[in-house]
Amino acid sequence: MGEAELRHLKSMSLAIRQDIVKMVAEAGSGHPGGSLSIADIVTVLFFDVMKHDPGDPCWEGRDRLVLSKGHACPALYAALAESGYFQKEELLTLRKLGSRLQGHPDMCKLPGLEASTGSLGQGLSLASGIALAMKMDGKSNRVFCIMGDGELDEGQIWEAAMTAAHYRLDNLCGIIDRNGLQIDGDTESIKSLEPLADKWRAFGWNVIEVDGHNLRDLFSAMHRFRHTHFRPTIIIAHTIKGKGVSFMENQAGWHGKAPSSEQTEAALLELSKEVVR
């Protein structure tokens, strides 16, 4: 990845973070913490790795992204808008009556969404189904699935982990937003996930651990996914919940809460300084 491309990705991830803060503030509710933690992940997917066409959301050749942690949809909506799927102004309709931007993704309403998600634990199975269909049809499209780490408490994730490995879905890449926090607190105090990488390895997956805010590392992890055969890949992306807005960082309390107008101003000011840097 060249310097110019890296700068472009950085500016996109920043724009997505600003969008997230504005959207959730305007909505008066939503999930800023887990949206900010996946901002860099969706940036690399939408602006580098995934094949997709904002002018033709149903293009057969597109790669697919399933946002299993549906509550982080502000990040996904922002990425779609920044890609040109719809006007950025529409982002401010998030969670409002009649909006295509539902509180959790509704694929029937908004073009560009590959699944309706929100009930945790189901996205990896759905993504496996897409990947399996691609295999059955001899297609080379890739399928990505972003999961929360708290979401891994759900048993269905591990059912899907077995299924995807059994069917050797090497066109499937799961990405875990390993921010370490869920609503009630620290993931390890709620139901310990560690040793997480060993678990996925034992389930037959190609495991890659990265800094989920390092765009270059994310890119190279996804490159390694593309060159892995006969098994699915899981990227454990170590992230910071609320990343980019210092008072939200590593605070479980910012999982599902909108900032006040003063907090919004402070958050946007902090992010605007990021541009200068």
């Binding site: 509704d106 309706s116 009930s119 199975s125 496996s128 189904g129 399996l132 269905q156 059912e159 299924t163």
Partner: protein
């Protein structure tokens, strides 16, 4: 009896075949004609008769192991990719254990997933309450976008399975384990969403689904000996319900009995009552399982124990007629 090419052997003794055979054979028929049809199984291939599809089309059969929630959402992914997946397992698991997956991942997104829901009713027999689906109609018909079909016999289950693939969106097909009377033949018309009058009558209507249609026909025969003429309706499509046929029957007969091998709470009878009570209220007696779990036993013993035979239906019809006003 109305001439709908019904089985000529209903009386005195019908032939009997399990409805699940109709599901298995219907899938094979689909497999021959529609390359998009895929079948998912969760370690119950021979019990659900999907081994017939698996053996004919091994490349389009997906074994998920004993993981029904994964299977339902996996089917959702296959459906968004243009496949027509048939999720196949017992009703308690497909509609119960995987209800949230059916509701949110499949039905909310209007995905083209079909659910073959086996082991419906107490006639499952010896396996007992854990495996007898008695709440599945209630919990699936409450979900928007879902079509719910409860076929009467082998032939109708075959037709319902084939028909399910012809409409977009989620469809639940409920069938049973044991042999049940053949009421229809391969020639009997079947239209999704259309309730069929199998026997005409003016004094009372008996509306039924599944094998209770047979019991209702027997009940009508009993009633005719008491001088009452009962109309019998086969309502295989519980949702969307054929309101027009029921309202006509309510106007013309003035009293109703509903019959289902399912809890009366929220089930088929409730669906009929929702239509009648809001449009043309008439007395309704409901035959079904009365807020109690099933148990082990012979299918016939259980049908009798839970009041699901022709005699209690006939008694309920007499009571419904007595309740008519003026």
């Amino acid at each position: 009896m109305i001439d709908l090419f019904l089985s000529p052997k209903i009386f005195p003794e019908p032939e009997r075949t399990p409805t699940r055979f109709g599901y298995g054979d219907g899938l094979v028929e689909l497999g021959k004609n529609n390359p998009s049809v895929v079948v998912l199984g969760a370690d119950l291939s021979s019990s659900l008769c999907v081994d017939r599809f698996r053996d004919a089309f091994p490349d389009r059969f997906i074994q998920t192991g004993i993981a029904e929630q994964d299977m339902m959402a996996l089917a959702a992914g296959l459906a968004v990719s243009g496949k027509i997946p048939f999720v196949s397992t017992y009703g308690v698991f497909s509609t119960g254990r995987a209800w949230d997956q059916l509701r949110t991942t499949v039905a909310y997104a209007k995905l083209n997933v079909k659910v073959g829901s086996g082991h419906g009713g107490v006639s499952v027999g010896a396996d007992g309450a854990t495996h007898q689906a008695l709440e599945d109609i209630a919990i699936t018909r409450a979900i928007p976008n879902v079509t719910v079909i409860v076929p009467v016999d082998y032939h109708e289950t075959f037709k319902a399975t084939v028909a399910a693939a012809s409409i977009p969106g989620p469809v639940v097909i409920r069938f049973g384990r044991e042999k049940v009377p053949e009421v229809t033949t391969y020639k009997t018309p079947f239209t999704l969403g259309r309730a069929e009058v199998y026997r005409d009558g003016d004094d009372v209507t008996i509306a039924a689904c599944g094998q209770m249609v047979y019991e209702s026909l027997v009940a009508a025969d009993i009633l005719s000996k008491e001088g009452l003429s009962a109309r019998v309706i086969n309502c295989h499509t519980v949702k969307p319900i054929d309101a027009a046929t029921f309202l006509r029957a309510a106007r013309e007969t003035g009293a109703f009995v509903t019959a289902e091998e399912h809890q009366v709470m929220g089930g088929f009878g409730s669906a009929v009552a929702e239509v009648l009570s809001q449009n043309y209220p008439v007395p309704i007696k409901m035959i079904g399982v009365k807020d109690i779990f099933g148990q082990s036993g012979e299918p016939d013993e259980l049908m009798e124990l839970y009041g699901l035979k022709a005699e209690p239906i006939a008694e309920a019809a007499l009571e419904a007629v007595k309740m008519k006003r003026g």
